[in-house]
């Protein structure tokens, strides 16, 4: 007769060998290993102040026949602490989602129940398949002054706990970060960088619910950020970049009217345009060129027969087509 037994960490556990008398001769095993008799009180198994390592399968066998008389799976764990719950709307005005987790593990299975109440109305929070600790609610009303009340209860075999969040429709609005942030140098402008981005794809209707943006940038060599707030558009030109310095740039988004700023976007790097070094024209440069030519081999033009690009075939049987034509022409003359 096998079943599961849940016990708190630190508890004293007494296991009876099924219907066997106290004075019956029995052997207990834990995960197949015999348990020392010092843990027995008659036929009862006594485990003092159990810890997590003592979770496992406990079996009791009749002394002489080794018949299995009792079996249980001991799961040592803790009752749940107050869960952490957060709710957010990243797709306003469609709805919002709530997600939760426990601050510390319980080591035993937990079940979660969430209730969402708006005024007198109980709303359905549809659980996501993945991740499992999240559910989403569709807004049935917009522009309501009535608060939402979300209560999450977590229950396991050793106890239960709950937490409640109360909030207004507009306070939990927080878009996802902007996407596809691109930063490019501006040709012939050593102090400019052109930055562009897109609305987060999760924001359903940016035309009716426009976003505003916050851009921050700094050269890698400095810690201080520069900030620009932009009330419309999805691009901006930085005009005060330090010439030649690599920059790191990020963008955040917020609904124009309500809620809070998104997290920062993925950072992008860019360096403003710099002028290519010009060819030197001083005497020193001429002298340098001469010394360079004498130090590396350059076949004289008069001995050059074939252009390297005209050579085909392997190195061993390379045929120079130009020379070949000349030879062929001579050959024709002598036939």
């Amino acid at each position: 007769d096998s079943h599961i037994q849940y016990e708190r960490v630190g508890a004293d556990v007494t296991m009876k060998c099924g219907s066997m008398d106290w004075d019956a001769a029995v052997t207990w095993t834990a995960n197949g290993t015999d348990i020392d008799e010092s843990h027995l009180n008659g036929s009862y198994l006594i485990l003092k102040k159990v810890d997590l390592t003592q979770s496992g399968q406990y079996s009791c066998y009749e002394g002489s026949s080794w018949h299995l008389k009792y079996q249980t799976y001991l799961r040592v764990g803790t009752p749940p602490r107050e869960p952490l719950l957060m709710c957010r709307s990243n797709n306003y005005p469609k709805g919002f989602y709530c997600s939760w987790h426990l601050p510390t593990p319980t080591y035993i299975p937990n079940s979660f129940n969430i209730s969402v109440i708006h005024g007198t109305r109980e709303m359905v929070c549809e659980k996501d398949v993945f991740p499992k600790n999240r559910c989403h609610i569709r807004y049935l009303q917009l522009f309501s002054t009535v608060k939402y009340k979300v209560t999450l209860t977590v229950t396991n075999a050793l106890g239960k706990n709950s937490t409640t969040l109360t909030f207004d429709e507009f306070t939990i609005v927080k878009p996802d970060p902007p996407e596809n942030v691109v930063a490019k140098p501006v040709p012939n402008n050593p102090r400019r960088l052109e930055v562009s981005w897109q609305n987060p794809s999760s924001w359903p209707d940016p035309e009716s619910f426009p976003l505003k943006f916050f851009l921050r940038y700094r050269p890698l060599i400095l810690d201080q950020w520069q900030h620009v707030e932009l009330s419309d558009g999805t691009s901006h030109t930085i005009t005060d970049a330090y010439a030649g310095k690599e920059y790191i740039i990020q963008v955040a988004a917020k609904d124009n009217d309500i809620g809070t700023w998104s997290d920062w976007s993925v950072a992008v790097h860019a360096t403003p345009w710099t002028e290519e070094p010009k060819h030197l024209t001083t005497e020193a440069q001429v002298a340098e060129t001469t010394s360079t030519s004498t130090s590396s081999f350059m076949p004289p033009p008069t001995t050059k027969i074939c252009d390297k690009g005209a050579v085909v075939g392997s190195g061993a049987v390379a045929v120079c087509w130009t020379a070949g034509l000349v030879l062929a022409a001579y050959g024709v003359l002598f036939i």
């Binding site: 917009l142 309501s144 002054t145 035309e207 009716s208």
Partner: protein, 195 residues
């Protein structure tokens, strides 16, 4: 077939919508500031729950995205006309309570009342542009002031201002929807040509 809007009408609507959006945005900021002042001066708790107040237009709406432009304008206009009366009553109560003292709260209330009146007028203009004259206000008597204790009046005022703040938010959204809609989309579908 319904006549299509002329380009100048469409431009006029767009311009009015954009100005309305800016007006609503400014109004919302001022109402939010007024709310803070009101809570402080009236000694209220900012997080106090206020039950639905009778006679105060509720901004909450279901299926908001399915509303036509005309519906949006009519509902907005009805709301701001009601707020015009409610704010005037609040101002009157303030003055009765404090005498003729021109307090910061009274001044802020008066300023918002002016914006509400201006916005109502703006909505009437938009309705005229939609070829729908605004509904008449003639004969509409302001509701009698309920007999409330001082504390109840303060809570009522809180409810009025909170709802007004939501309306200002909704109005900006409504006008953006209006600006987004193509010209003539709010007209009733024309009957099919008879054989």
């Amino acid at each position: 077939m319904a006549a299509a809007d002329s380009p100048s009408t469409a431009l006029g609507r767009c311009d009015l919508c954009n100005r309305g959006i800016r007006l609503a945005g400014k109004m919302r900021l001022d109402v939010t500031n007024l709310l803070d002042t009101y809570v402080e001066r009236q000694g209220l708790d900012a997080s106090a729950s206020v039950a639905a107040v009778e006679g105060v237009p509720v901004a909450a709406v279901e299926r908001w995205d399915e509303q036509t432009g005309t519906q949006r304008l009519l509902e907005n206009l009805a709301a701001y006309r009601a707020f015009r009366v409610l704010l005037a009553q609040m101002l009157e109560e303030q003055r009765e309570q404090l005498g003729e003292a021109d307090t910061a709260l009274s001044r802020a209330l008066a300023a918002v009342l002016l914006q509400v009146s201006a916005f109502a007028y703006h909505l009437e203009e938009l309705l005229r542009l939609e070829n729908r004259g605004p509904p008449s206000e003639e004969g509409a008597e302001p509701p009698p002031l309920p007999q409330l204790s001082l504390f109840e009046r303060k809570l009522r005022g809180l409810g009025v201002l909170r709802e007004l703040a939501q309306w200002a938010l909704r109005s900006a959204r409504d006008l953006r929807q209006l600006a987004k809609a193509s010209p003539g989309s709010d007209s009733a579908p024309s009957p099919p040509d008879s054989p």
